[in-house]
């Protein structure tokens, strides 16, 4: 069913990156290592975006997730010294949680592969068109009054609010 070509190889490599990285995040005790696994996983996802011809999102993924969020997480790990203190990795419900996550995965996989809930379009093998809207169209859509201009401004407001909130919470006001 799958032709063995460069795209398939790339897909497999990125799938290994993102799934392996994700597994590493939840199983590693050392939080810095976990962050590096997170970076690996996010990098795999960036590769997916390239394969899906959304290179802009791939660049954003690297820039925002790897360049900013991962660094912020490392800062937080260092600030809380949280890598040395915890003896138990998981809480007591780990077995139950594993079962829940496993069942969720099976259900999702079934819903994706076989049309359990009727024909839903996940079975298509190839994109409906080879023509893809590019980053320019994204830019136009973001400031188009009939499309996303309101979410666009709200996103800015949300980030401003998040920053103000985070500064208020994180700062030590005792000093």
């Amino acid at each position: 069913m799958l032709e063995f070509n460069a795209q398939t190889i790339a897909f497999i490599v990125f799938a290994l990156f993102s799934l392996g990285g994700a597994l590493g995040v939840v199983t590693t005790r050392n939080l810095i290592h976990a962050t590096l696994y997170l970076i690996l996983s996010l990098f795999g996802a960036a590769g997916f975006f390239v394969l899906l011809s959304a290179p802009f999102l791939a660049a954003v993924q690297v820039l925002v997730y790897i360049g900013a969020i991962a660094i912020l997480i490392v800062f937080a790990v260092m600030l809380t010294r949280s890598m040395t203190r915890i003896s138990d990795l998981y809480n007591r419900q780990w077995l139950l949680s594993a079962i829940v996550a496993g069942i969720l995965f099976v259900v999702l996989l079934a819903g994706v592969i076989v049309p359990v809930w009727g024909v839903n379009g996940t079975q298509i093998d190839r994109p409906v068109s080879d023509v893809v809207a590019g980053t320019v169209d994204l830019g136009k859509a973001l400031v188009d009054q009939n499309q996303y201009v309101l979410p666009f401004e709200v996103a800015s407001l949300l980030l401003t609010a998040a920053m103000i909130g985070a500064i208020v919470i994180a700062r030590d006001d005792q000093e």
């Binding site: 590096l36 900013a68 660094i71 800062f75 260092m78």
Partner: protein, 414 residues
């Protein structure tokens, strides 16, 4: 040098004629192209270090390296050979795998930027539609290398140095990216080749001088060059995040840094100085190498002279300079440029063709806008400087001292 794009069809055809499957032929040509593109910086860096030492020596009225080879040209090669035989020490408690990974990432991320640099109209590694963001993204992986180098060394100084370096890199990435918005706005493309083509009429350094200066300053800080090299000031503190590294791993950090500085000049030349544009380049594309190299060298030489003449800033000045000056100026610059671009479009002055005369009216209007920004900033600097001097004089008069040497880099809010 990089023949891959211009003659890729010939190479692929030759290989397929020789009996190689088309896929393998494609792969082989790509690999050949990658090796070519990656070798350019590797060879350049050897001469860069020599040039850097020579220029620093001339500024300080010394001779610089002059023993090994003609004019000391082979000094760097000798240094590299010496470094190969140096013992490689891994400190106790270091996270071995990550410790060894950091120098590799440090070097690789710099080489990776070269993939999108247009050397001539025909020679470019990969002309991505998001080339500009690609280089910013790859450069932002650079913070990861510093983080893991500092953390895995199991050394307090390395960790502290790494954190300070990361704070610096993160901060200066903001004006860097903001200043890149302006060429994108004018050109309407993010592909590096497209940006250079769009500068056929007018270099962006004339249309957006403020953005060009912001880009240059932010790049100096991003690459840790003087006057922003306080985190590994070799003459004052031991080193930064790479204190525990020795031998060739340390060499990788240093070579990566030199290359990054040169790459930054290269990018400035591509984005703001018209890249490979020059007389006769459309007839003889290979001339592009020469023009690009010349422009890059001018920018690089300027940063070298800065390095050996300007004193280091303090870390609080570094942060204040970025957040209280560069970022607000960049934001204002984006707004002013955006407004003026709409204005020129409404007035019908936006260039339809890519020649000098067509671009002139828009350039003049943009230049005036930039001039206004510069004047406002200079006025602010003067007022703040005067206020600080007067405040200092007042306190000194109260205390009885008369020293009033203040640096104007401080906060306008005070």
């Amino acid at each position: 040098m990089n023949e891959v794009v211009c003659s890729i069809n010939h190479v692929v055809k030759c290989l397929t004629d020789a009996g190689v499957t088309p896929d393998l032929a494609n792969l082989l040509t790509i690999i050949g192209g990658v090796v070519l593109v990656a070798t350019v910086p590797l060879i350049t860096v050897i001469f860069l270090i020599w040039i850097e030492r020579k220029v620093a020596a001339r500024v300080q009225d010394r001779l610089g390296p002059n023993r090994v080879g003609p004019f000391g040209l082979l000094q760097t090669v000798a240094d590299a050979l010496k470094m190969l035989t140096k013992e490689d020490i891994t400190p106790i408690g270091a996270d071995k795998f990550i410790y060894n990974l950091a120098p590799i990432i440090a070097f690789a991320t710099v080489i990776l930027i070269w993939a999108v640099i247009p050397f001539t109209p025909l020679h470019i590694g990969a002309d991505l539609s998001i080339g500009l963001l690609y280089f910013v993204a790859v450069a932002s992986i650079g913070t990861v290398k510093i983080m893991i180098a500092g953390w895995s060394s199991n050394n307090k100084y390395a960790l502290l140095g790494a954190f300070r370096t990361i704070a610096q890199l993160l901060s200066y990435e903001v004006p860097l990216v903001l200043s890149l918005l302006i060429p994108v706005m004018i050109a309407g493309t993010m592909s590096m080749q497209g940006l250079v083509h769009a500068q056929g009429g007018m270099w962006y350094v004339f249309m957006a001088p403020v953005a060009a200066v912001m880009f240059f300053i932010a790049n100096l800080a991003e690459t840790g060059r003087a006057p922003f090299d306080l985190l590994e000031a070799e003459s004052e503190i031991i080193a930064g995040y790479n204190i525990e590294y020795s031998g060739f791993k340390w060499g990788m950090f240093m070579a990566g840094e030199f290359m990054h500085a040169f790459t930054a000049s290269l990018l400035a030349a591509v984005i703001f100085l018209g890249g490979w544009w020059g007389p006769g380049v459309e007839q003889v594309p290979v001339l592009g190498f020469l023009y690009l190299g010349l422009k890059t060298f001018v920018v690089y030489l300027f940063s070298l002279v800065l390095r050996s003449t300007v004193p280091r800033v303090r870390i609080d000045q570094l942060m204040a300079l970025n957040w209280k000056w560069l970022v607000p100026i960049s934001v204002a610059n984006v707004l002013v440029t955006a407004f003026l671009l709409q204005l020129t479009k409404a007035l019908g002055l936006a260039p339809q063709t890519g020649d000098f005369a067509a671009a002139l009216p828009q350039t003049i209007i943009l230049l005036l806008g930039n001039l206004a920004i510069v004047l406002v900033v200079l006025n602010l600097v003067r007022n703040i400087g005067r206020n600080e001097r007067m405040a200092a004089a007042a306190t000194d008069a109260a205390v009885g001292h008369s020293e009033d040497e203040r640096v104007a880099v401080g906060a306008p809010g005070h």
